[in-house]
């Protein structure tokens, strides 16, 4: 698990799309013809209690791993498997705290750490060395807290929002950490989702963020991760979901008789529809192999636009079942080993397909509707 998959949560998983779908002989039995909820619950429960050593390369993303596990259990209507108070306490322990309000504007981001790599207990003067709050970890932290029913009004949201501004760049994009990193649509999405969950847009300049997003729409209708880059399923999700969260596009655009929109909707729709391949799965870019997670990234865009009804659901369902693992979870490609990232996006994809026994999905937040609305 050395190389990196794209992900707004900056998650690092197995080989990306360069192998053209070569399956490993991990399973010799034919795929199950149904979504095996019990097996998936067992898979997530195992992860909740102990993740295998292969995930040590994901150390920096502990909170993301926790988000996939806990939100995954909620999607499967199995949240009773977790101790909600324990989870909330653990997540809250990752929050970075400023010593004073003056510290909020000098450049650092007081969100949540992603792991214990650089988190140290405060010294005798109450000083915590090395704040390393990260946008994606903050998104995950808030999402987990909401999922377990923790009241977000009780956290220090001011520190998060005031210091969030330190991460926005002059072109409207966001950097994920204050010490310097790549800036692209993934982190615009994280920022928008954070403000949305905290119900407070003072943390970012929405207009500038919108301008950056619009520059990412490519000539073929999809969105690249940065202006000029190739249209990409993940970039397109981040763009459209952010615009929706920020209030720049309406729900179910296609059913309305709006003649103009800030984005080229017909071209975007065309691009999304072309991503369903002949094997029924969704590809992340033109002429790439189908991959489980794009059933969510692109499926969710279609859901937001009101165009999910156009896809071939039977073909997609069939493809996804070939990626369902006998160990529980989902793999990237058919008949391969599962990982927690593809497991989670497999569950969200099945939720979009309205699989019985799963909680409905809030497409623009990537978590259950219940969590998004605030119902425990």
């Amino acid at each position: 698990m050395a190389t990196r998959e794209w992900n707004p949560l900056d998650f690092d998983i197995g080989e990306e799309e360069d192998e053209e779908g070569t399956p490993s002989p991990s399973s010799i039995s034919p795929p199950l013809q149904y979504f095996d909820r019990d097996r998936h619950v067992a898979f997530l429960e195992m992860m909740y209690n102990l993740m295998p050593h292969h995930y040590q390369s994901q150390e920096i993303n502990r909170l993301t791993l926790a988000f996939f596990t806990i939100s995954g259990l909620h999607l499967l209507r199995a949240l009773d498997r977790v101790d909600k108070d324990r989870v909330a306490d653990w997540v809250l322990s990752f929050q970075a705290h400023p010593r004073s309000r003056a510290e909020l504007k000098i450049g650092q981001f007081y969100g949540f750490h992603g792991s214990r790599t650089s988190q140290f207990p405060p010294d005798e003067n109450g000083v915590s060395a090395r704040n390393a709050g990260h946008l994606a970890s903050t998104y995950c932290a808030l999402a987990i807290l909401k999922t377990v029913g923790f009241n977000l009004l009780t956290i220090d949201k001011e520190s998060i929002l005031i210091s969030l501004r330190n991460l926005q760049q002059p072109d409207g994009s966001f950097m994920p950490v204050d010490v310097g990193a790549e800036t692209d649509l993934r982190f615009v999405y994280c920022a928008a989702a954070i403000c949305f969950m905290l119900e407070d847009w003072s943390g970012m300049d929405r207009e500038k963020a919108k301008e950056y997003i619009l520059k990412c729409q490519s000539y073929d209708g999809g969105f690249g991760l940065m202006p000029g880059l190739e249209s990409h399923g993940g970039g397109t999700y981040c763009a459209v979901a952010s615009l929706r969260l920020m209030g720049y596009i309406e729900d179910d655009l296609l059913s309305k008789t709006v003649t103009s929109s800030i984005i080229n909707v017909p071209l975007l729709l065309d691009w999304c529809m072309q991503r369903q391949a002949i094997d029924g799965g969704f590809q992340g870019r033109a002429n790439k192999p189908s991959d489980t997670c794009y059933a969510f990234w692109i499926g969710a865009v279609l859901r937001i636009l009101g165009g999910y009804k156009f896809i071939d659901k039977i073909a997609l369902h069939r493809f996804l079942l070939t990626c369902q693992s006998e160990f529980g979870g989902f793999s990237k490609y058919p008949r391969d080993l599962p990982d927690i990232y593809h497991a989670y996006y497999g569950y969200t994809a099945f939720s979009l397909l309205e699989e019985p026994g799963l909680n409905p999905l809030c497409a623009e937040l990537g978590m259950t509707d219940l969590t998004a609305i605030g119902i425990i």
Binding site: R4, D18, E59, T117, F120, E182, L225
Partner: protein
């Protein structure tokens, strides 16, 4: 990935060089969620890293330690960031750093942190690094011609340091190898892009409504995966024509 050049992979606790350092274990609290079953080598390396990082020790041995930590969790942005601080403090040879990055490139070709670090190095080397960098990216693309990170980095190098005049030829060569390489089609070689944009910017369907509806009819039957979409599209067209 070859990280064993300097320390042979020996446990740090048994190395004389590290005798003066007390490793700092992580504090995951009383009831951690999703704990990871770390292997001993990982746990030990990160405990020493935490100690050095907290002490802010920017020394040659710290540099070697970051290499070891990068090998074990190459996505760890905190380790990469600290490596940059150490490189600066030691006034290290950045050409050597580029060589190091190229050696680990193949097993980290989709690693955001590696590419960001590479960009940081190239920014400091400036225009002199352009030719070498464009060639290094070509090597990676020769293994995976659609590597999104490589293309993103390539666009950045061209924008920051120039070199667009040769890019069209390079993309043409890639398309001769694989006409379906969408990344090569996307590369903003302006002559090509301008004509595509001109085709796409008209409000009305450029083919005219009758022909468009006929095409939707055909696609409804030939592209059965998207049949319902072509029907909707055809109906929408007939409304628009009125």
């Amino acid at each position: 990935m070859d990280s064993r050049e300097d320390d042979g992979g020996e446990p740090l606790s048994r190395m004389a060089e590290w005798r003066d350092v007390t490793p700092l274990p992580q504090d995951d609290g009383p009831n951690p969620v999703v704990p990871i079953a770390y292997k001993e080598e990982f746990r030990e390396t990160m405990d020493y890293f935490r100690a050095i990082y907290k002490a802010d020790e920017r020394s040659p041995r710290a540099l070697r330690l970051t290499r070891r930590a990068i090998h074990l969790n190459p996505g760890n942005y905190t380790v990469w960031h600290f490596r940059r601080l150490v490189l600066e403090a030691l006034n290290a040879d950045l050409d050597e750093e580029l060589d190091f990055l190229q050696r680990i490139a193949n097993s980290n070709s989709k690693n955001y942190q590696l590419w960001h670090h590479r960009r940081w190095v190239v920014e400091r080397l400036g225009a002199n690094a352009r030719a070498k960098e464009l060639n290094l990216i070509k090597k990676i693309l020769s293994i995976d011609a659609k590597n999104y990170h490589a293309w993103s980095h390539r666009q950045w190098v061209l924008q920051a340091l120039g070199g667009w005049e040769d890019e069209l030829d390079y993309c043409q060569q890639l398309l001769e190898e694989d006409i379906f390489n969408n990344s090569a089609w996307n590369q903003p070689c302006h002559e090509f892009r301008d004509s595509v944009v001109a085709l796409r910017t008209s409000d009305t369907d450029p083919l005219g409504p009758d022909l468009s509806m006929a095409i939707c009819d055909i696609l409804e039957h030939v592209d059965s995966l998207r049949a319902s979409y072509w029907i909707w599209r055809k109906n929408k067209l007939s409304v628009a024509a009125v």
